[in-house]
């Protein structure tokens, strides 16, 4: 009975989430715009429809929209426990990725990261000699059996009930053991003073911002956005709908454009998890790059020279 209640509540929450997300994105005109506009105060007095806490739809000027951090009012304990009844999951459709890098820049903007620091990176993968290379966006996998959490000596990185693996950078001692333990090179370290100029008064493990020198950080699936019923920034920023985000309990994922059944999507498209053999049980699924929307070169030719450098080995192997 209780379980059902929770599930039901979860479903209602999710519908609400989807509704707000849709409203917000339509109002902004495009998916990419909705996230990048968040921190800048526009001159244009665009009106945005939002759902108020009382359940009414209100229309406000978009320039009043502010960063998620300042709105998070959850306690540090809540940030460690997670959102009850949820089980977040992501699906990345490799057939749609053309390395537009909108996800990377959106993530950096959202988390105030410098350009060289990528919580989300796009790799150019080539699985075998005859195989064709493909673009491979990589977030944190939020493993269900996370090697990083196992080795943390101070409980600074932890697994929440909603499936997310987060870092409390007020607890982290910076031993980097988690970085050595993560087989996916997800984690990054603050080697120098981040100088983001943001107060840490509202810091929780959910906001991940501001970064702190001498601590580890990584992709967090934007739980502060989720709390407000919004999708993570990489999802909304992608012009091609590569990222699907949703709830495993609901068996629903959405990329902002379409909302689909998770199990059906994985079944129809042959979804798999990266390096399943490592036994880390990622919460991130990939759809294989079959029937691709773009040739792989599309993501390479338009890149600036220094980014091209990264993929040269693979591209040259191809020639």
């Amino acid at each position: 009975m209780k379980q059902e209640e929770i599930k039901d509540k979860g479903r209602r929450d999710f519908i609400k989430t989807a509704a707000i997300a849709t409203i917000a994105t339509t109002a902004c005109g495009s998916l990419a715009c909705s996230c990048s506009s968040k921190h800048e105060h526009h001159k244009a007095a665009e009106k945005v429809k939002l759902l108020s806490p009382d359940g009414e739809i209100v229309e406000i000027d978009s320039s009043y929209l502010d960063h998620a951090n300042h709105m998070s009012i959850i306690s540090k304990k809540q940030a460690r426990e997670g959102i009850p009844g949820r089980k977040f999951v992501m699906v990345i459709d490799l057939a749609r990725c053309k390395n537009a890098r909108k996800c990377v820049t959106a993530c950096q903007k959202m988390h105030h990261l410098p350009v060289e620091k990528e919580w989300l990176s796009v790799k150019l993968m080539k699985d075998s000699d005859k195989g064709s290379p493909y673009w491979f966006p990589k977030t944190c996998f939020h493993c269900d059996d996370p090697p990083c959490v196992k080795v943390c000596p101070v409980d600074a990185t932890f697994k929440r009930q909603d499936g997310l693996v987060l870092i409390d950078n007020e607890r982290c001692i910076g031993c980097k053991f988690c970085m050595a333990a993560c087989p996916y090179s997800t984690r990054v370290f603050n080697w120098d003073e981040p100088n983001q100029g943001i107060s840490d008064a509202n810091y929780t493990a959910e906001s991940s911002v501001p970064s702190k020198i001498g601590t580890v950080e990584k992709c967090d699936f934007c739980p502060d956005m989720i709390r407000q019923g919004l999708l993570p920034d990489c999802v909304t920023a992608c012009p091609n709908g590569v990222f699907y985000f949703g709830d495993e309990n609901e068996d629903t994922v959405t990329n902002g454009d379409e909302t689909v059944s998770l199990s059906q999507l994985l079944k129809d498209r042959g979804g798999y998890r990266f390096m399943e053999e490592l036994g880390t049980k990622p919460r991130l699924y990939y759809l294989p790059p079959k029937d691709r929307m773009f040739p792989v070169e599309r993501g390479y030719e338009s890149l600036p020279e220094e980014l091209k450098e990264r993929y040269k080995d693979v591209i040259e192997m191809e020639k």
């Binding site: 060289e116 990176s121 790799k123 150019l124 993968m125 990589k138 090697p147 196992k150 080795v151 943390c152 000596p153 101070v154 409980d155 600074a156 607890r171 982290c172 001692i173 910076g174 031993c175 980097k176 053991f177 970085m179 050595a180 333990a181 087989p183 996916y184 090179s185 984690r187 990054v188 370290f189 603050n190 080697w191 120098d192 003073e193 020198i213 001498g214 601590t215 580890v216 390096m275 490592l278 880390t280 220094e306 980014l307 450098e309 990264r310 993929y311």
Partner: protein, 451 residues
């Protein structure tokens, strides 16, 4: 404390070393302090500016510091195991070198953990290790293990020193009052009474029995920091015993070198005899063979099955353009030469053995580097990073400065300690000659008496 003539000679011979600090000792002390000061400045930079001043980056998250950590901790375990075995099996020729092995144990277990602390990004949060400990983490195991081991080895050395402190106390040394008082306090009123002797021997034996398996455990736990991860070249079941053996081996080398240095410096030829070099040389040869066997197994199995990830590390290690020459150095100087030198009677001399042991110790340091860095440079997901310092690790001057500061601290401790206690245990020598039978008698008699 009464001394027999043999002990008296040994004490008289070493008396000046603890009575006077001497110009040479001052020189070396200042020299080492200078190095430590340079390291201190590097440490200041690292704290003030962040770990960006080191060569460590997101892929190679650990570098020289962790190499030094394994290196020094390894030496320490060897000291405990060697001194423990010599004591426990009452090896008579081993008596003069037990002190040196124990000093090595303590000093390196102090220096080693400094280096793991240098890897930590937030010094201000170190106490979190005790406030928020997570017992699942091999790092927590390591903290517990090293602390336990530290306490054990301090007690072990101290127990062995009590009798000597009593000798220094009674010898009316020409030293300042405070030092005399200190010796007196540290000797805990030891007079050489039968019951005191018995308690001391029992405690020491007990500590040796605890310390030997503890060193093996602690050394294995250290290796598990690497073995427990999903990294090629680290994720190996033989890492535990491999580290134990490498630790023993490198420690044996350091002991030989320390013996050679003190023999020269304090003219201890009568105590650190050629026989000691030969015997420790044999030990070194056996350990070299064992260590070589593990090294071969490790490389051969990875290379033969040639799984993609393992292969990547193996290729890096054996490619002359990457780490090929270092691998060659680590294995020739670190395994083959020590075995050959000791095997050939002509080269089995103290000088040659010491030189070879010294080179072997360096080779073993290089080997630790080859365990850490190439693996971290081979992540499972391709790096595809264009920043050179992120792709390939190269240590920066603050890292080197702190490394040399660590070595200087190690040597400084040796210098200071040899001015505080005699390097050859004076009262310890007693046991080899006449003491055994008496001690046994005493123990038996007192055991029979009702409590």
């Amino acid at each position: 404390m009464e001394l027999n003539t043999f002990q008296q000679t040994a004490f008289d011979h070493q008396r000046p070393t603890i009575e006077k600090f001497g110009k040479r000792a001052w020189f070396w002390t200042f020299f080492f302090l200078l190095w430590i000061a340079v390291g201190g400045y590097a440490l200041y930079l690292q704290i003030a500016k962040g770990h960006g001043v080191t060569g460590m980056r997101d892929n190679v998250v650990w570098g020289l510091f962790i190499v030094n950590f394994i290196f020094f901790i390894g030496i320490s375990y060897a000291g405990a195991i060697i001194s423990g075995l010599l004591l426990l099996f009452k090896v008579s020729w081993g008596k003069p070198i037990i002190r040196l092995a124990q000093m090595m144990t303590i000093i390196s277990v102090i220096v080693g953990p400094i280096f793991i602390l240098l890897c930590v990004g937030r010094f201000d949060r170190l106490h979190y290790l005790f406030i928020y400990p997570r017992i699942q983490s091999p790092m927590t195991w390591d903290v517990l293990a090293i602390l336990t081991y530290f306490v054990g080895s301090v007690l072990f050395l101290y127990m062995a020193l009590i009798k000597d402190f009593a000798v220094y106390r009674d010898a009316k040394l020409n030293i300042p009052k405070w030092k005399q008082k200190l010796y007196s306090a540290l000797s805990l009123g030891y007079r050489g009474a039968a019951s005191q002797k018995r308690h001391l021997i029992r405690s020491q034996n007990l500590l040796a029995i605890i310390l030997i398996p503890l060193s093996i455990m602690v050394s294995s736990i250290l290796s598990w920091i690497f073995g427990m991860t999903l990294r090629p070249g680290w994720h190996s079941t033989i890492f535990g015993p491999y580290f134990v053996l490498a630790a023993l081996y490198s420690g044996c080398g350091v002991l030989i070198v320390a013996m050679w240095v003190y023999r020269k410096m304090y003219k201890l030829e009568n105590y650190f005899t050629d026989r000691h070099f030969t015997y420790l040389g044999y030990t070194m040869m056996i350990l070299a063979a064992g260590y070589g066997y593990f090294t071969f197994s490790e490389y051969f199995t990875s290379w033969f099955s040639s799984e993609v990830w393992d292969n990547e590390v193996i290729n890096k290690l054996f490619n002359p353009a990457e780490y090929g020459w270092w691998t060659l150095f680590a294995n020739v100087v670190g395994i083959i030469i020590p075995m050959l030198i000791v095997a050939i009677p002509k080269t089995r001399t103290p000088n040659v053995i010491s030189l070879v042991a010294f080179c072997m110790v360096i080779a073993l340091w290089v080997k630790r580097y080859l365990i850490i860095v190439p693996t971290l440079e081979s992540p499972l997901v391709p790096m595809q990073d264009t920043r050179q310092e992120y792709v390939k690790y190269s240590a920066t001057w603050p890292e080197w400065a702190l490394t040399f500061a660590g070595i200087a601290t190690f040597l400084l401790f040796f210098t200071l300690m040899s001015k505080f206690v005699t390097v050859v245990p004076v009262s310890g020598l007693e046991d080899t000659k006449t003491h055994h039978e008496h001690a046994k008698d005493h123990v038996k008699k007192e055991d029979i008496q009702p409590a």
